[in-house]
Symmetry: C2
Subunit: 415 residues, 2 copies
């Protein structure tokens, strides 16, 4: 059972928008045992849509298309699908009612282009879109299915979860795919590979191992394909256990969990709290934690303090420390970390002060110089990092390194 | 001149990683006048790579491939490219020296798989990778070019900027593409289309208009194709001016600038400062501002205050206000906004308090209820929003709405 995803829109090809829909759809299809063979992003052009659709339907049993369903002139997916199937249009009463309801809710006049949103190719089954005016459309072709969804992520997600996934489950008889991911940190992928080669070399042909490196972390993903989910899960868990034994020093967790969530879970189970004092990462690290539901039991608060004044008033950093050592120094991040512990009455803290760039570099502290502190109630540890010249990367690497330092401290404290 | 991008890796197809490389490459190619026709994401499988490469090279003059160049067994791009060109391998001395240098810098033993990183197909020109061990590779085929780059974003970006783009500029005689983007807010795309139809209906066939909606904002993008860049720029600017006149109430700016950057620039030019007090957005809004270089002249600081205690101690919210009205209320966001102005000595402030979910909802304040405040030194405005049930979307919509409220206040103050 193979699927292809086609995302339509010039904005994807000129890079104005990153295609996040495909990754999300890929995840959801995998969970129900459908393997994505290819993702294609193409332009809002009739020929491109027809050619790509013809090629995809040769290779796959299922094609999911997103985008090009809006009311404006650049949206031609619906018209092109009708051409592909050589059918005319019908007006869908449910969609028309939904369009009218949305426009009356916003007290907005209904334009002809909005009413046309209810016109769909004759051969489709309409998938009602509660979050927008463009309906999803389900087409059947011999043993194959083509689904067309709006490109707006939250409309697409709603339709996938409420309509498409349940229908796929009943329409196709699906095999199983089991993915199992482990998170490691502090070791490069070739060293990991060397350490686990005794396991990797004898993997059966229906189990694949992939290395996914990112900012000092490597995720290892086992993927198993077959008909007996329970047996696959047991086999993959057994392989995972063997791998863990070989890399115990670098092993973080046995699931596809981001490091900050591992930390949140660890701290929550021990009733520990965390405060953050950020300078150059500017709220990014706090956001890493607070994006996760339920973080408030652990995360007590955070200060983004850019200037000397703010570091003094928000975190109690001493003026003399700032003027003697500069804001990017061991002394300052340590006082920031202690200030966060004391002022926000937390058990642990992280502090970051650095030069994210592109401006602000100095000969002795070039762009990319970052000091990071972590503290518990008894001690403070600080470390200097020298990252690169790109602001975004410096922010992300600072946050990733801070997470690794805190994870290490927690592991030592609760060994 | 058309290009295709092929990104290789199972992690893309199962959605473990979002393909951000393609968007970035698409942007860079467009800037030098190369139009991307298709982006394909495929598996680390020989047949998939060969089939996709054959199809792409039929349609495009340039194919850029990323991924599958690592040292581990799942990385097969290099071997498959040698098969595609029917050539053997040669060892590249420069790459070997670079690999050795990196490993000695980290004091790490050099494994055979690392040395093999220096083996490249005989017919390629090596593009030296200063940031990693996998070199970029440039292949010429009749009048066409195929480039293979590592999938790690910062290695790929380095190679594109330093090696690939300059070589493309000299190898191909390139036409021009001019993109011109306008940002609008507070109006839906079909109403925008209605308002500007007099301009859109008479666009010449070499100029396209696209609508890019996102969280209450719509970007309008004009794309013009031709040989005379200067003439295209003038024509597109003239069309943009006509459009602006038709939608002046909703027009934010005449460039592809995110709203928070528009605000930063506006405030910087008037020597104004901004402080932020966040609850449910947890640092996300501060990060929106601080991701931009030079934000520190405007952005004085921000507090993420989750609990009652933190709202009191960090922002001076009165205990009675919290207990009488609850943290998600007009009264509390107004005190948060005033607290931020006073404590962080800023000219403007934003405050946000809401229930991002999935937990924490109540009958009278369901998940998605968010109060947002904006203030200047003289006055405070607050507004209630009712978003949906998804945490990430509630965080993003809260931040987007806060930006629109601040932009409106600034426009009124400096009308």
């Amino acid at each position: 059972m193979q699927a292809e995803i086609i995302t339509i829109g010039d904005e994807l090809l000129i890079g104005q928008i990153v295609d996040t829909n495909s990754a999300w759809i890929g995840q959801k299809l995998n969970e129900i045992g459908i393997k994505v063979k290819q993702i294609s992003s193409i332009s809002d052009e009739r020929e491109a849509i027809l050619e790509t659709l013809h090629a995809a339907i040769q290779r796959a049993n299922l094609v999911i298309i997103t985008g090009g369903l809006g009311p404006t002139k650049d949206d031609i997916t619906k018209k092109t699908l009708a051409q592909f199937f050589e059918v005319g249009f019908k007006q869908d009463a449910g969609t028309l009612a939904q369009v009218k309801e949305i426009f009356s809710r916003y007290n907005a006049p209904l334009l002809p282009v909005n009413i046309a949103q209810a016109d769909v190719p004759e051969n489709c089954t309409v998938l009602p879109n509660k979050n927008g005016t463009a309906p999803g459309m389900w087409f059947e072709l011999d043993e194959q299915v083509i689904v067309s969804l709006p490109g707006v992520p939250f409309e697409m997600k709603y339709l996938m979860e409420e309509e498409v996934l349940p229908k796929l489950n009943t329409y196709f008889k699906l095999p199983h795919i089991v993915h199992h991911t482990m998170l490691t940190a502090g070791i490069g992928e070739s060293f990991l590979a060397e350490k686990i080669s005794s396991v990797e070399d004898i993997l059966p042909n229906y189990i694949k191992l992939a290395y996914l490196p990112k900012l000092g972390q490597v995720r290892l993903r086992l993927s198993a394909y077959g008909n007996d989910r329970k047996a696959l899960e047991l086999e993959v868990q057994s392989i995972s256990n063997q791998i863990q034994k070989l890399i115990s020093d670098y092993f973080i967790c046995d699931s596809d969990t981001p490091l900050e969530k591992v930390i949140l879970d660890f701290m929550e189970s021990r009733n520990l709290t965390l405060a953050i004092a950020e300078s150059c990462t500017g709220g990014y690290l706090a956001h890493q934690f607070t994006q996760h539901p339920g973080c408030s039991t652990v995360f007590s608060g955070s200060a983004v303090a850019y200037s000397y004044d703010m570091k003094e008033s928000m975190l109690g950093v001493k003026h003399a420390t700032l003027t003697e050592h500069g804001a990017v120094s061991a002394e300052v991040v340590e006082e920031m970390a202690r200030g966060a512990i004391e002022r926000y009455e937390s058990d642990y803290s992280i502090s970051i002060s650095g030069i994210a760039g592109p401006g602000g570099g100095m000969p002795e502290k070039p762009v990319g110089t970052v000091w990071i502190g972590v503290a518990n109630k008894a001690k403070t540890i600080s470390k200097k990092f020298q990252f690169g010249s790109k602001r975004r990367e410096n922010i992300e690497r600072s946050a990733a390194s801070a997470l690794m330092m805190l994870h290490k401290l927690l592991k030592e404290d609760y060994a």
